[in-house]
Symmetry: C2
Subunit: 434 residues, 2 copies
Amino acid sequence: MTKSIVNVGLVGCGVVGTGVANNLLHIDKAGRHLPCEVRLKKIADLYPDKERPYKIPRELFTTNADEILEDPEIDIVVELVGGCGFAKEVIEGAIQKRKSVATANKALLASCGRELAAMAKEYGVDLYYEAAVCGGIPVIKSIREGLTADTIESFRGIVNGTCNYVLTGMGKYNMLFEDAVKAAQMNGYAEADPTFDLMGKDSLHKLVLLMANCFGQWIDPEDIYTEGIMDLDQTDIRCADELGYVIKLIAQAKRREGKLECMVAPTLISKKNLLAGVSDAYNAVEINGTPIGRTVYYGEGAGMNATSSAVTADIIDIAKNIYYGCVGRLPIFALEKEQCEKVPTGDMVMRYYLRWKTDDKPGVISALSQELTDREIGISSVILHEFAKAQPYSIVTFMTRETTEKNMRDAVQALNKLDCIQSRTVLLRVESGF
Amino acid sequence: MTKSIVNVGLVGCGVVGTGVANNLLHIDKAGRHLPCEVRLKKIADLYPDKERPYKIPRELFTTNADEILEDPEIDIVVELVGGCGFAKEVIEGAIQKRKSVATANKALLASCGRELAAMAKEYGVDLYYEAAVCGGIPVIKSIREGLTADTIESFRGIVNGTCNYVLTGMGKYNMLFEDAVKAAQMNGYAEADPTFDLMGKDSLHKLVLLMANCFGQWIDPEDIYTEGIMDLDQTDIRCADELGYVIKLIAQAKRREGKLECMVAPTLISKKNLLAGVSDAYNAVEINGTPIGRTVYYGEGAGMNATSSAVTADIIDIAKNIYYGCVGRLPIFALEKEQCEKVPTGDMVMRYYLRWKTDDKPGVISALSQELTDREIGISSVILHEFAKAQPYSIVTFMTRETTEKNMRDAVQALNKLDCIQSRTVLLRVESGF
């Protein structure tokens, strides 16, 4: 089925959709890479007359998505509705009509990606989703096409622009959490209700999709320990800085003895690591493979421009597949071999950062350290500063050597019972050798 | 022509070739991405019995490359001979026999890539060369497939591992140039005669290939100003550090008013820039496009593992194209539109770093700065340190605002004639806003 015109139907014309529509309307920009015409034929959106940042011909609009799904001339359906309800219907409907799909919907793919991929395979169509993981970074392409000769051992990434913007505000500009969130909202990097991002849920979805690509393994998001940045304190950002680290929200996974470890949590990253220099709303993913070694991919994580570029590149890729008659050329996710066990969170081995507000009196350091020694947790660094005059409290920071999450949580429970501490233990993870 | 077995012939089994052979002999590792069998059928090398880091069956070897070119069962020829003589014959011979080619040969592609690409197109075969530019970074794939929706405005990269290793030694470990080069050689990051790398010639070849991919423009390497790192002095690395910069060998190109600016030169990179953190033999390329914004790709630049991963991924890509009958799916380089003029080196606009050893007496700063003022070159920073007692010389450093290369070179000529300076002017470029 070699076609000289590939027709595209767009469902959902919000911020990203408008960017994609604009790209497609000016596709000759990208013409250098394209053997056929790619034409935006129809756009379904409930608000055709809404003001948009680019001018899009009114006659392209319909309010009825079925007009796209039922149009036999449309080859590619672009789903930019978001969410797991109507969006799923659109994708399923398109696949059943043997139309290929491009989407940016990480929430839907994280929960139903395996099922939708199987369906796409059954119907012989493509399902592309580069924009679902770090819009402005071609990381899905790099994993599923660039690193095909490699066994991927581990990855870790800063995959949520909102959190990284907030953490940059707190770290570089000494803002309080609340003020950094407000700044992110004012600058368009956070939703009106940013809870979902700040709780790490968005990062979790991307973690699941990266694992499906890197390892061919689908881990239930519910089973993955996920901690956001809502409880992060300026104090810890300053203490981490003093220790030579920056706190980033990290989504990470690695193979260990045939099993998979994974987690989303605010993590101390050494300033020597490239990820520590990823600021503002930028994202980056570090991938370690054999034989390729360490690779890092960096770019804007979200926003109209970056995301629309990724969706449009997917459309161009699919259009080429249609033109050359090689739809299905790529597996949608890495092919699954035997299911690999997930290491229970309690058994994961990491280094930890601990911080307390304590009484300023003799015996504090020995009491704190004794609890760790009792559990065979080694201490690799301690910070306690001397003050000129007596004050009502001290700030004490420990970094530990490797131990299991369970052992550390037990230690924290015991530490929280000590008389000398005035606040609950702050517990953060520290990057370990990747 | 759907084939269930794709046969590969490898010409040249040195370090990278051995890695590729080993990958192909264990290809099931990568099987998750592959619909067909990829079989290493023959290896041509003059030294079949040489000791190699991996065991490769002796019966695969021949000393006659024609056995590969003339074998009708071989679909893909991998050229890892290097150089522009016999390697070119191998590639041309393969294409004429309608075999697709994977190569890592940047020198050959930089000089004859356009011609070889036209030939591959004529014969309907693929020519892949991911390993020719930063082995362990899928940057060619990212540009020609990931950024297809974008107009690339500029790029700059650290693309030579040898130079970066030497500069890291000088910068981080305070080594002299000669000692850093020796360390690079001892650790396998520099050739016995590293002149070609240290003069920037290897970076130049990669610059040419990146321009052909990013802009669809072929610029003659002879026309590109290329300065290596052989004259770099520890003093300048220390002064740059004090100014907040790191010196890297940068290959860069950008569009300016419909023309192309390009250059290879040691360049001061702000410590705030991710590229400043790229150390040792690692490479990184920053690409700026519209709409995608700024992206960076990082990984090992060379070596058996990284390079063999890239070559093997190319082989897998080509094998898929053969299997799905879509050879020629990608343009070999970005399609050329109208030839774009190269800005003459003298007209390029940059910021500069200047450094002198001068007499320690009154009037030096005013003499130096007057020469710049006379040519309307603004000064953005100056360093001159006071010493406790008189010494026979001072070290003076200026950073300038933007001016043309020609104006700056004229200024340097005049500066070199001043009585107060004891050494010729050191002139380096400074990153400008990208």
